[in-house]
Amino acid sequence: MTVQKEEEKTIWDKIGNLDYRFIYTLVAILVFIPLVYPLGTPMTVGQNVKDYADTILSLPAGSVVLCKFSGYATMLPDIEPIYLATWKLLLSRDLKFMVQLSDVDAPSIIWMEFAKLKPFFDNYGKVYGTDYMVFPFLSYGEAAEMAFTEDIRSLFPADFYGYSLDDAVHLPMMQTIHSAHDIALLISSSTDYAVRRYLIPYGVKLIAWGTGTGLLPFVPPYYPNQISGYCGGASQGGELEAYTGFYGDGVRYNDAKNLALVGFFVFIIVGNLSYFGSKFKKG
């Protein structure tokens, strides 16, 4: 019969083997506190976010903006503050915008967001077909992008509601828009596609919106020469709200995330102390 010698656990080992449920609970508490009682933690607006908003603000009246909307439900909390602040910014200006739906969830999400913004649509007197319009959902590939930029009607003979793009009664704004030549700005959720298909052949100005993980790692090489500004993740969504003055959930989310990050930092420090402490103890 073999007798297993059980090693005596040090305080460092005990700290290192902390029950993960304790960590989850603490993080949950730290998230919930600012959501119930907003703390108003200070925020700095990054240059990329300023450039993102300034690019829209600098467009001449009547310019056409194409928005690539890939809002998918599971990622929404990370990107919705950006979407909402951007819609408000677009609605507040004398601009026309078209929306491409590039994800299966996007057709549901877009109308949910526009319903939230009904007071803005009413306040600024924006009318569907005259000031903005939505294309039907399509999963875009390089060839589809190319077709769209060359001749919008070759890809979409009709809008989301089934009105022909040549229908001057329901879609008067589309009577002067035929290809990427008529677009002044593209708000894209990807970088390389947008540069290849819009900037290089047509000289369309680009800015980018997206999730923290889906956009931020990829966009810096293109900024600021090719992509004029970008805004990624709910944190920068909060910055955009603060910069444009269209406050929403982004600022509140930043509060919650900041406090939760304090918890993460504490656990990172504790984890490292445990690791190096037990290493030092063992010699």
Binding site: P77, A143, Q226
Partner: protein, 219 residues
Amino acid sequence: MEFWDALYAFVQCVMVLSVWSYLYKDNVFSRISAQIVISISVVHYFMSYLKVVYNQGIIPMTPVGWYPLSAGLWWRIFPIIMGLMLYTRLSRKYSWVSTYTYSFTLGLGTGATLSTVIQGSIIGLIVNAFTAPFLGTTTLDQASGILLLIGAMTGLTYWLFTREATGALSYAIKIGRLFLMASIGLLYAQDVVWSQSLFVGAAEMVLKFVKGVLLGQAV
């Protein structure tokens, strides 16, 4: 809060709490909620793509006058046939048929990409790497830009395999590796913050139910 809004908030709250219960341990609620989400997603995706095929492929093919958007674009039958050919992968005997669709799609995508990839994704990025670091308006921005340029240059040396890593090159590679590790750490940090955003969004759903439905407060 109206009845349907309250019901929506209730379903959201129950689903979120069911998923979170997995963090304690695997249980029947977390499994049921996962199955519901997967099932709905599959049906949602299938129906959405079917609608695209119908609206973008089948309706425009029909002779002018049949439907408001009929256009007589008979050639749109070809993409539909190519799409159907993909399902031959379900048969071992005929799976080779699907390769024609793959090769056609790849060829089309590559051709379209190549037309602008050199100017957009190669020359553009090189120009950006050398000019963007000097666009900073403050001393800190400029110092940060120069650091970025050093990082880009030394990071590139890490991928040089045509020369033995000795002398100055070995130091450049070591520095480049540090920059690469730092950028990977940044990616991980972004992933943590992204997960936090999703968590905050879910927490908001629970709060919405508690405040709006249980406490009857405005949300």
